[in-house]
Symmetry: C2
Subunit: 326 residues, 2 copies
């Protein structure tokens, strides 16, 4: 694979080059990993999109929201990429971006690029690969990268770790259900958007928005927020109402953060996090190399037979691994 | 520290040597780690105790059970060690073996050795150190090692990974609460013991025992179980009734497993697990070495400034780390 050529085509905006590059960063093969690393280094980190993390449980209308919101942005001349982090252990058939037909118009929009979640190994691996796919989309010149996840487990934390802004999408619900959103997620949100503010649900949506606005006011002020943030709004993705206001709100917040140094600070902190994550992954990847695996299997057998004690065998292995590699 | 001398004293049954050895394996210092590894290698894995994992939520009478059960065993001439894995993120004041006065008689018994959970870093670290403390207790000639934990989160899985037998202690409760025990924990249990079968609670305890016995019969048969296992029993730790039956039941099961190869198989599988765990820990421990930390900090700064891409910087770091070390 010619990495320089792939980089050039990707920067030039060739969709196929981007798709192939994402497949490359998603691969678990050692040679692919080395090529992916080379590609990412070649592309650098100069071009930046606005990265918007987006979480919502199934049923809140996430696909409809992304379709309507994405089309509004492309309508304003922006290029929009949509990626996903799927925290489920086994691939849930079409539940998260598996089925592009749920975003029919957006998926056919030449200014949009939709990519399903990489296939499962573990959340950590999916996270790193999605973070790298975000970097590829930035290099390809997208203006906005939406990173979708569902509101369960650790996936929101992981998505927040690669986003400039975090949007929590909710459905209209009675006041009692406000407890359903975990405090940790509330503390991550820059914007809470109550969807389905249409038809019979409109009044409930307004009440839900007011409930969350009240809850947000009670939370401790974060240094990265100007007055009035985080805030809660209502939209109807179906009727395409409230979406310009959501965009305006996100834009104002990101402009303020740029002006006050928080944008750069967040990006720097996140880059450090992913660097340390990559270091740990690379160290542990040594164990998958053929000679390491052979030595590991041999020592593991000795340990299983009780001939060696686990800690001593491990220390011996790590010593040997280093000498072997030079 | 003279490791050969410490090993000799520990094998001779000196309590102070055992206590100091456990402190050594619990230490996070690199030089202590090397000494701990040497000590464990010196002691080997020949002497084996019966390792009993014991889980129960607060309020089931775990301390009383351990005290009564432990005293019964020492009364029969056995030497008993009690260790703990505390999964709570911050040390919970005295809730788990922090306060030996809750096992007043056992803690003063010369045939017993009680050690609180090591201070917290993360569960993984606590687990490895407790596993090594178990090995030290075995080398010191204890017949039974009880490894206590509370029934929350991942700690039961970790304790099961270092136990020959796993005992789940429960309090009498209405049938509805049977759901409170997670299926994964039920599947781990070799013996379910309903405590507090005394006074007003006796009838409830019997019903609870019957409920769990029924639930166990519905579960898939495991190859490592003879007929009639896993089973459910009642005890009164307070009135010291039912304890010989619990011991008999555990003894029969472990004898059967020894005779049928499952004891060795489990020990071998566990040893492999802890070996692989120690390898990963040792690999990541390289990051804590001074020259690695300096290189890491420098690269992290470059990544934060956007001069290097996280994945490329990580690959460069891992290459450099190996060359530096030889």
């Amino acid at each position: 694979m010619d990495i320089a050529d792939m980089a050039q085509r990707l920067i030039a905006g060739e969709r196929r080059a981007l798709a192939r590059a994402i497949t490359l960063v998603e691969s678990g093969r050692a040679d692919h990993r080395a090529q992916a690393t080379e590609l990412l280094a070649t592309l650098g980190t100069e071009k930046q999109a606005l990265r918007i993390g987006l979480s919502g449980t199934p049923g809140v209308g996430k696909s409809t929201f992304i379709e309507s919101f994405g089309l509004m942005l492309t309508g304003q001349g922006m290029r929009v990429a949509v990626l996903a982090v799927d925290p489920s252990s086994s691939r849930s058939g079409g539940s998260i971006l598996g089925d592009k037909t749920r975003m029919d118009l957006l998926s056919r929009d030449p200014a949009a690029f939709i990519r399903p979640s990489p296939s499962q190994t573990h959340l950590g691996g999916v996270a790193r690969r999605t973070r790298e796919a975000v970097a590829l989309c930035e290099a390809a010149g997208f203006d906005v990268v939406l990173i979708e996840t569902v509101g369960v487990g650790q996936s929101e934390t992981v998505v927040a770790q690669m986003s400039d802004l975090f949007l929590l999408l909710l459905a209209p619900a009675g006041g009692d259900e406000l407890q359903g959103v975990k405090r940790g997620i509330m503390e991550m949100a820059d914007l809470i958007v109550v969807n389905k503010a249409d038809g019979d649900l409109k009044a409930t949506a307004m009440r839900t928005q007011a409930d969350y606005a009240g809850a947000l006011r009670l939370m401790r002020k974060r240094p990265q927020d100007p007055d009035g943030y985080p805030c809660a709004m209502t939209v109807s993705a179906l009727e395409q109402r409230g979406l310009p206001e959501v965009w305006q709100s996100l834009k104002s917040l990101s402009d303020w953060r740029r002006d006050h140094g928080f944008w750069e600070l967040t990006r720097a902190t996140q880059a450090r996090y992913w660097f340390e994550d990559a270091v740990k992954t690379a160290l542990l990847a040594q164990l998958a190399q053929p000679h390491a695996r052979a030595a590991l299997a041999q020592l593991s057998d000795a340990v299983a037979r009780g001939e060696q004690e686990p800690a001593a065998a491990a220390a011996a292995f790590v010593r040997e691994l280093r000498v072997d590699d030079v």
